[in-house]
Amino acid sequence: MATPAASQPPAQPSRGRPLRARSAWSGALIGVGIAAFVDETVFHQLLHWHHFYDRSTPGVALVSDGLFHAFGWFAVVIGLVLVADLRQRAGLVRRALVGGILAGAGAFQLYDGTVQHKLMGLHQIRYHVDLVPYDLTWNVLAVVFIGVGAVLLRGAARGLNSASAQSS
């Protein structure tokens, strides 16, 4: 890449270069979107465990929830578009994508389960039951998602390093 052309932008091979970071971020966006979507469809609509509105919900929880609700839809659409773009550039790193999805979904679920449900006092996971097992399952599952996601992301990074080490 020692072309002396001064007007050229920094060398950017357009196709086929693995775009690991972008794959991971696309995954994170999709993950947040999926978690928000599951929260909405499964727990609000299908199981009716969550309530649409609690009379006691403080304003800050409503704002936080509204923000994540709106961001969730936007994130899943943009994440999918980013994946489509990674494919048209032949730069999709699958492991980074899946790692990103798991980490993103886990992070959102953990935030929802700790900050929104507990600290801010948004609606609870379920009503008229002992909440402890629900809260534990919810948050432990979130941590597991984050952990598996992190392992995959590290694996993707190492895979790239060894690949570049081989090629150089």
């Binding site: 007007s7 050229q8 950017q12 091979p13 357009s14 196709r15 649409f52 509105y53 009379r55 919900t57 409503l62 704002v63 929830d65 509204g66 923000l67 609700h69 709106a70 961001f71 839809w73 936007f74 659409v77 943009i78 999918l80 578009v81 489509a84 773009d85 048209q88 550039r89």
Partner: protein, 271 residues
């Protein structure tokens, strides 16, 4: 403000919507006679938007009083604007107007007030901020008493929705070209404010009004989930446009990589 559908103002609104669709069709026909390409999907989208406007002006949507009102607002403030914006009315006007008219329209588009309105946070504030004033202030109750105020509110809801959809989608040439991050942030911010407002309506009606608890809950959920659908559609427009632009960039890069002459680095101003 929401049930008297057959007043002269409703007829006027429906007439304007139909008139707009006719003007659009004539302008598109003019382009095609001249030999320009103009996708029939744009005509279809614009006509559908005008039809939605005319329909909700003449026929009250079903449901309780407040739910029906909410459906009407959703249609005039979100669905119809999106459909109309997808028809690219400004591009059509710029192409089909005679030179004098085009120059005047361009001058308006490049004027300072329009530039300010087309700044995404401003458009979002006008759109959702107006709704907050309407439902959380005394406006809604006041509009019940005065028909003209109700009509004015409808006009504002439609105009602000149109502005917001146009700015977020950025399909038509805008005075300043806000980046995708700013447009996305405005969309998420407006979506959040819309969702929070819908949730508060679930618990308490606009000040000075009383609706049945069922009616209120149905209206709030309609606002919440209806808003979601349009937000997803807007995000899809933004995302797909970016995807197409990225594909073009990619094609350009690979042409350059293949040894062709690099195109001049002049800033292109729309197509």
């Amino acid at each position: 403000m929401q049930h008297q559908q057959d007043g002269p103002l409703a007829l006027l609104a429906a007439g304007l919507a139909v008139g707009g669709a006719v003007v659009q069709a004539l302008a598109a026909a003019r382009l095609r006679r001249r030999g320009d390409r103009w996708s029939p999907l744009r005509d279809l989208s614009f006509t559908a938007g005008a039809a939605v406007l005319a329909a909700v002006a003449l026929i009250a949507p079903p449901g309780g009083t407040f739910t029906s009102h909410m459906a009407q607002h959703l249609a005039t403030g979100m669905v119809a604007p999106l459909l109309i914006v997808l028809g690219r009315p400004v591009t059509l006007a710029l192409r089909s107007l005679p030179p004098g008219g085009r120059r005047r329209l361009l001058a308006v588009l490049r004027s300072r007030p329009v530039a300010a309105l087309a700044y995404p946070p401003v458009a979002a504030l006008l759109d959702v901020g107006g709704l907050w004033l309407l439902y959380r202030g005394p406006l809604f109750a006041a509009a019940h008493e005065r028909a003209w105020l109700g009509a004015l509110i409808h006009v504002h809801v439609f105009a602000a929705g149109l502005l917001f959809a146009a700015v977020v989608c950025a399909l038509d040439p805008l005075p300043s070209r806000p980046g995708i991050v700013l447009r996305g942030a405005a969309l998420v911010g407006a979506g959040a404010a819309h969702a929070v407002l819908a949730r508060t309506l679930y618990a308490a009606p606009p000040p000075g009004t009383a609706f049945g608890a069922r009616d209120l809950a149905a209206a709030a959920e309609l606002m919440y989930y209806g808003g979601d659908l349009v937000e997803i559609a807007l995000a899809a427009v933004v995302g797909l446009r970016w995807y197409a632009a990225s594909g073009r960039r990619l094609a350009r890069e690979s042409r350059r990589g293949a040894g062709c002459e690099a195109p001049p680095a002049s800033a292109s101003y729309g197509q």
